[in-house]
Symmetry: C2
Subunit: 149 residues, 2 copies
DNA sequence: GATAAAGTTTACGTAAACGTAAAGTATTTG
DNA sequence: CAAATACTTTACGTTTACGTAAACTTTATC
């Protein structure tokens, strides 16, 4: 028994936690091309893969038309036309540059989140210290210091 | 002379390659809070930093309201309220998880682009070989092999 | 054989993030 | 001082990516 060949719309919806509306919309935009049994959609494992790619693309900030463009380009490379192959290579290298930019952005964001977190923890530690001073005041003078800030 | 304190809307627009419309929209959504000289906006270097963060957020797939939420949270931590500090820390850790997901997504995408590129290059190499065989056919038999695929 | 469950089409609605005039004010420059 | 330049507000338009409801058909279940 192989991996399973076909899927219903609700199976895919459940597996990837999207609405059937979204899946139908992706078909409408020609990102998915299910066959039909009667009027019911039947999704292939290729469709399943593409749905996964669509959702990953979204998480990376790609629009549906960007993703569709990649799908179409890839399909055309399978026809083995030289021009298409070169176009695909060019597109790939542009996408790579985009991913590099994103990796930079993420790295910067992580650094800034590090310093932000550190400051938060410092501020919290300060608050704890004040609490203790409140509970066990060694010196009576300036017990209202916190309010003076 | 320090870094420069204030900026006009068009200065920022030019520097970050966005329209003035976008900048005004960000102010409308309360992500930027320029002061005014008369009715003209005057942006501080803090605004400049925030604009940079907004744009980076966009490249990372963040919505404006997500970014605004972070700005607001950060501002509130400066008031030193314990509850706000804890909320900020929690939010930061959720964002970190999100960035981890994105890094995974990017890594997967890069791998797939690697194999896609390899296949393209193979296909191109094949085409080159056929061209040479066409030009200098060592054996006459089966010269129409390419057409038979 | 009724009814629920899962599927369908059609179509209007909506939030986000601006684009694009239109019409006016303020400032700079020849 | 006239014309160009930069800025403003108001407001309707547009694209993307679906949400939501209505009305209907097909298949499974009791």
């Amino acid at each position: 028994m192989v991996k399973k060949e076909t899927y219903s719309i609700s199976e895919l919806a459940k597996e990837f936690d999207v609405t059937t509306r979204s899946i139908r919309f992706y078909e409408d935009q020609e990102l998915l091309k299910p066959t039909r049994r009667g009027q019911t959609r039947i999704f292939s494992s290729k469709d399943r893969v593409r749905l996964k790619l669509i959702l990953r693309g979204k998480r990376m900030g790609f629009s549906l038309s960007e993703t569709k463009e990649l799908f179409d380009l890839w399909d055309e490379t399978l026809s083995g036309n030289e021009k298409q192959l070169l176009l695909m290579l060019d597109t790939l290298s542009r996408k790579r540059a985009q991913l590099e930019q994103q990796k930079n952005d993420i790295a910067m964001a992580e650094m800034e989140m590090d310093t932000a977190e550190a400051r938060c923890r410092e501020a919290l530690a300060d608050l704890e210290k004040r609490k203790k001073e409140q509970k066990m005041p060694a010196n009576e003078e300036e017990s209202t210091a916190a309010e003076q800030r």
